[in-house]
């Protein structure tokens, strides 16, 4: 009897995980794809970041409180470690954007392992794509504003090489700078978060599927599956941090390339 009940429950499980797991249904009826769990999470992330900085910077003290210390640490980490170290002196003025970018990616990534939320908006290609487009527009705009369109293109497309080689090299330069950069920026973040979500689904839901079988051997294997789910959840914390950092540092590096003087 109980075996039958469990078997019935197993059939209800969303197994196996598939790509459709990141295409979430609308929360509001008839609202189309505009109000899903993802869009709500993005608003939540924005709200969290705004509230965090407003609350911690509301009454700044010379000897900072814990919250103020945390906010200042994050900001100075990005300002110095990304803005100044990658871009140089001019990088300081990009610190607000880079910090916001870093925190937004970090918070939305961390959503992937928060109970009840349990999926990152970045596991859907649309969200990393928009972030990559922002960085793409930013660095191209800065480059064109500083050097002018002609000189900016010349700097990026024409390498320092014999004239005979140029027809062979310019297409590579064009492809790597203007097509591959935004593509890899978006894909790297998307693929990491999507793969992380799939892994967690495989080991968590897979654990329940194993538990629901009628064989003591396969049931005991579910313990391994659950243990893996826990380990991978901790691993996802590292991935979330690292990918947010990589996104910020690559954006900074592209800005640096656009602002650099002739090589």
């Amino acid at each position: 009897m109980s075996g039958q009940a469990v078997a019935f429950a197993v059939e209800e499980l969303p197994w196996p995980p598939s790509v459709n797991d990141v295409f979430l249904p609308s929360v509001v009826q008839d609202a189309g794809p505009w109000v899903t769990k993802f869009t709500l999470m993005v608003w939540l992330a924005v709200a969290l970041i705004i509230v965090f900085f407003l609350a911690t910077y509301r009454a700044p003290k010379l000897v900072p409180t814990k919250g103020q210390w945390l906010a200042e640490s994050v900001y100075s980490f990005i300002r110095d470690g990304v803005g100044r170290d990658v871009i140089g002196k001019e990088g300081i003025k990009f610190a607000p954007y880079l910090t916001t970018l870093f925190l937004f990616v970090l918070v939305t990534n961390i959503f992937g392992i928060i109970p009840l939320l349990q999926i990152s908006p970045n596991a859907h290609i649309a969200f990393p794509a928009v972030l990559a487009v922002l960085s793409y527009v930013l660095f191209n705009y800065l480059g064109i504003r500083k050097h002018g369109l002609g000189r900016y293109l010349k700097m990026n497309l024409i390498p320092d090489a014999p004239v005979a080689m140029l027809p062979l090299l310019i297409p590579i330069e064009f492809f790597s700078t203007f097509i591959l950069r935004p593509l890899t920026l978006a894909l790297r973040l998307f693929a990491n978060m999507f793969a992380g979500h799939m892994l967690l689904l495989v080991f968590t839901v897979g654990g329940f599927v194993l538990l629901g079988t009628n064989n003591i051997l396969t049931q005991s294997v579910s313990l391994v599956s659950f243990a893996m789910a826990i380990i991978l959840t901790l691993f996802e914390v590292i991935v979330a941090l690292l990918q947010a950092y990589v996104f910020a540092i690559l954006t900074a590096s592209y800005v640096q390339g656009a602002l650099a003087d002739e090589h």
């Binding site: 990304v82 170290d85 090299l169 590579i172 790597s176 591959l180 590096s253 640096q256």
Partner: protein, 72 residues
């Protein structure tokens, strides 16, 4: 950094940038000239020979570019 000297630590960020740049050039070289080779294949019905040549030439050009731009 209170002594007014610029920090002398090895620049991790710059190292990572160079790595990404190099990988980007390799991919771009193979993609661009591999694609041109594929077009030639479609045109002359060479069944993949031009694609292979294109990819190898693209890689060679990418390595040339990397040495030229990133090499000391």
């Amino acid at each position: 950094m209170t002594d007014g000297q610029p920090p002398k630590r090895p620049d991790d960020a710059a190292g990572a940038n160079m790595g990404w740049t190099a990988v980007g050039y390799l991919l771009a070289g193979m993609a661009v000239w591999g694609f041109v080779g594929w077009l030639v294949d479609q045109w002359l019905k060479w069944e993949g020979i031009a694609t292979a040549i294109g990819i190898i030439v693209g890689m060679a050009l990418a390595i040339y570019l990397i040495v030229r731009k990133l090499g000391v």
